[in-house]
Symmetry: D2
Subunit: 402 residues, 4 copies
């Protein structure tokens, strides 16, 4: 039997970390013995558990401990991390250490270095005394990458004081909730972020425009509530189409009926923006006079439009290389404290992959399955709100406007 | 400040009970201090926590402790339960103790009596040295009912050994699961129930027939895998319609297209069964020659068809008084170990309200929202499977048939 | 080969009736020859088609023609309807004519009588010179019932002028619609009904309360926008619970969090109303001071609470016999011009079964499947709106309030 | 008042084209007068309508006629198409004619040229006597593009003989259908395509792998039922991961439980394939020994993996430039007769945008909203099947295997 000891620290009972760890151990047929346990006697006291884990073979044991570390359960460890150099651009050493989106340290020459810009599913590159996460495609020959299981420490997430773990769990994903209260929570967190100088990110899909939410979102941008926008070709196109031609995918925003010839409107709008060369040029020239993209250009709010294989056109601002688009998004996520994902699956998941776990994320969609899907992928700090995005944005803009 | 001490015992870490309790305490603005904690050092050891709960007023404190008791967190208590007599049929004393679906004891004359037939949202009537749950509408003048908060003890649920708490949590409700494995689990639990002599209950909706699942379910009944069927007028009607006329709601089961005149088929079938006086009479007379209801009649498997305000006809077997129907269902739930809820919301919720927490329940539906809804209502031992019920029943019958 | 001639009259091209009829003929392997066709040359002109239908056997042909008549395609016919007397209470003659929800005439002694109170899936009882629809369970021995296929004429529905057939089709059931416009349409139709003295029916489920919509609906009742309410035990209970205790299924309406002891609140409320004997008595006595049920009692707006097998309690006003409940609902549907189905499947379907086709029906639910389900069942005049019911009712009350 | 005459020919009654056109005319406030109408007297006869359309201004009229042409309603027209040269790469003349996905002719020098490779939302470039559709981004300076509304003729779609229009309408999108029959239809159409030498395209998402459907799809590829595969990085990764490591997104395909360390499996697989340089190289080298991608490589079935901003890695075969990916897909769609869209929204919509209307398309997904969304976008020949993709593929492979 193979055996190793792990330690968990922090709010491990109320964050469910301890239960998850014990469950995961048994789930793979391993066994545990709790060597030491100090419970936090009051709500602010941290707890600490030392657990001896036993498995029948070393591979099972080490794979298990790797998966536990994702949540912040670390091996009792006082060795340095091993490093291995890349021998091919864009390819990592076979046993590279995969990152989580939690704060992480790596031990080099006996010192624990904090890894900058936490992002899940990346590698850790160490350069001088600096450790940073790097996505696979960006490593270059010679980069020294952390490999194996030793010398890496992950910090478990401290739950926000206002809501315990159960508030964030999936039964929360329900259509049967008092919506005014869920809205109040978003308002509250956006205000708190604003006060402490934290960035607010909006990720949005075209349904925002179709359901009449774009003017409200434009107002939020105009009033300074948005620091970055991640979206796609469809959203930007329909936002501009609704400004220039009064339709969204050919449906009149004002009358709700399909207008004559409307199905080609978005193509003509894309074609004209291509003629201008960029959305900013079209705004400067007076072709676009309102809407979310207009407000972004006017206020200098950065936006990233990630391309997709279903795009018409696309707009000249749409980044057709998706890897480059994700890299551009990475430039902005470091400053973000609160993220709103508005009726978007593709861009929501893409953004969720990049965000550190500490970012408070609200996923608002009329389809419970979308919310569950986002929460299923490690973006555990996500609060899901199942509601109709158009009216929701109207209420949000009104409450923040005052 | 008001203060009271509670104790939690059992698998309170891995069942998440401890985390839930601490979360709930903070959620209402109360505070806690963990006086004593003994963790189970190995997976089979129970844990035990003694927690001092403090709140600003006694009502908040007592309401909180009531809500904690639903999960098995009990006051440290050595007083007898108080009893109060009903002064009106069908009306309980104002402060009656509301039951959970967990095993419960009540203290009478210094002795802890086990309450028979656990069912949530009922009252406890004590008669001689017997305590039993009674639904509100069945109490009679003079019945002595447990009132208040003292002298009642609820046992927390022991998780089944095979799956920890997280297996039953809502992220489990997803369309993206390997379906063969979820099926294998149902097969496994049905076999285990059969071996230990436990009853298997099937609760089903008309979609079972529409999607072609009825012949498979009929086979399960014929082969002795079903001990009771709870359903409604629609399921029974379409099951018989598909036998007698080859259609379900007028759609040909064999060809999938609407057959001529088919929309009236179910009405004619209901009318003929009404002429026979009962499904059993129609079976005996040779009018019905196959299907789920036929097999139930032939094997003597009891069924309860609860009426609904949308029913056509209804069939003579359909109990039009819904309170009487629920009472009839109560007669069968005591012997049930495994319950399958097949594409049914109304009857699934109705049954979930009656089942003790110890019954392993599988909710199979193509709509994730239905599964979440059932799990949201206290039927926490429910495992949800999001799949298409027709093919699922075919696979289930095949696997159990061998 | 068997052959018969049918005639279709009215707006049979734009209502899709002609296309449906031709499609249905081919679908069952029959054939057609259009003997005569006069198209309406302008939008207000009716069209008229005379179609010879051929099938290989008479049963197929007659079943086909029966199913076509559901939409208003009638046999060329100048015989009287056949009548047959019931020989058992609650049981119809075997070949009774099944009604549609369209205006219908029956030929007796050479005269076409208009059938009163159109309702689908019923029989036609003729008494003196009066023909009326009667549900199966209400026929009595000796009632003379129309049987067979002759002497019955169904009028096709005239589409409302404002929206063509395609506006009502299922692609309409989408989350991606400008919601303000769908709201405007409901407002418009409610105002139009009010002006012409037509009744407005509200059918609602408990989610109306959970999502915070009850105060808005109460305001609509108070302001005279509602003439009848059909619902169930759950809605009425949570509406009263939220008034008396400030919670809905134990969730605080004001704070959105589960309150201590809240899960038992609805049971205590039911118990107290049972003690008063009725909701009206509880209102009169001052126990209930607001909410939808309160406003109904105060304004004398009739309500029908149909029981269901999942009900807790139930409330004394809940009709536990579901057949009696449907009969009570039948008393009110005759005066209804507009029906709103708010987040309810069970009661929505039940009501849809009873309404004449001419009633404009709006089905509002966050789940597209519910809307599709209602539209699938012959309630073809239904307009579906996929949105969140709480905010929707807030906006509706605001717009109608001005 | 402005006036113009249009003509509709073909199966315009049963394909609903006539009803749609009349509805659309009234919908925009225009008026019509049917000048001439010849109905097809038998099912095989075409019908023909000549309709005078009147509107208050010329823009409304022309926009309306443009939108009607999408369905095959053409202006009575004997002028040549106007051509205009592009003055900038990737930018079309302002009033370019937008294509539909129906067969189209364009009149040049008095002759009607058939436009090759119909694709919606493109332009028509005329070069010598050849007219072809070209997407916006691929036009070059000097290309002569059809502009304006004259000299273009669109052919309405002939419904397939087996199913009328109503079979394809959205109420078809329902979970409550006999699934064996919907399956039989897919089998039938795939066999028919195979017999006449038509290509079969499979478009698939990662849920195919998660639900256990990949081995069945691999078998279909191996047995020669698939001529091209369009998918993304996720599907290919999980397909290979399940072959190499036995997991899909870290979930064991054999045991259904999360395996230790499994969440990193897909990253390691991507990294290794990157080391090999391509999937084909990894197959040749024996790293990948089974699965869908393996069978594609072995049989030489072409695949296009379109990149997406949420991709991990990505695989070296994934085309990170989405415009290039769509262009690659265009190379294969010409030979396709039947398309299966399996649990994919993104790639399904992308493919739907490229397919000619004549391709029979089946969209299979457990979520009714996905099916509705695909059908909403002009891919009207889509038949939706709401079912669980894993078991569905098992049944499909079994039926085609015999």
């Amino acid at each position: 039997m193979e055996e190793e000891t792990i330690v968990l620290e922090g709010h491990i009972v109320d964050s469910l970390l301890l239960a998850k760890v014990l469950d995961a151990i048994l789930d793979v047929g391993a066994d545990y013995h709790i060597v030491d346990f100090r419970i936090g006697r009051t709500p602010t006291d941290p707890s600490r558990a030392v657990i001896e884990v036993t498995a029948s073979d070393n591979k099972t044991l080490q794979d298990l401990l790797d998966s536990l570390q994702v949540h912040g359960a670390n091996r009792v460890d006082d060795t340095d991390a091993a490093l291995s150099a890349c021998d091919r651009d864009g390819v990592l050493p076979r046993d590279f250490t995969v990152t989580t989106n939690l704060d992480t340290d790596v031990r080099i020459n006996g010192r624990w270095l904090s890894v900058t810009n936490p992002e899940m599913d990346c590698a850790i590159v160490v350069d001088d005394a600096i450790a940073r996460t790097v996505p696979m495609h960006r490593v270059r020959v010679g980069d020294r990458v952390v490999v194996g299981r030793r010398g890496v420490r992950v910090h478990s997430l401290t739950p926000t004081t206002e809501g315990g773990a159960f508030e964030f769990m999936a039964s929360e994903v329900s259509t049967e909730k008092p919506k005014a209260l869920q809205l109040a929570r978003v308002v509250d967190r956006m205000r708190a972020a604003r006060e402490r100088g934290g960035g607010i990110l909006v990720v949005c899909g075209p349904v925002v425009v179709h359901t009449g939410g774009a003017p409200h979102l434009a107002r939020l941008v105009r009033d300074g509530w948005v620091d970055a926008v991640f979206s796609g070709n469809g959203f930007a196109t329909h936002d501009i189409e609704s400004n220039v031609l009064g339709t969204s995918l050919g449906v009149s925003i004002a009358h709700g009926s399909h207008v004559e010839g409307g199905h080609t409107n978005h193509l003509r709008v894309i074609n004209e923006i291509r003629r201008y060369g960029s959305i900013a040029a079209a705004v400067d020239d007076g072709y676009v006079t309102g809407g979310v993209m207009f407000e972004c250009v006017r206020r200098g709010v950065p936006f990233v439009l990630g391309g997709s294989v279903r795009d018409d056109g696309p707009l000249p601002d749409t980044m057709t290389d998706v890897v480059a688009a994700a890299d551009r998004m990475r430039e902005y996520v470091g400053a973000i404290d609160v993220a709103l994902m508005l009726a978007t699956t593709l861009h929501g998941i893409a953004t969720g992959n990049l965000l550190p776990a500490r970012v408070e994320t609200f996923c608002i969609d009329i389809n419970p399955a979308v919310v569950t899907k986002l929460a299923d992928r490690g973006t555990h700090q996500t609060m899901g709100i199942v509601t109709d995005i158009g009216p929701f944005l109207g209420d949000l803009a009104e409450q923040l406007g005052s």
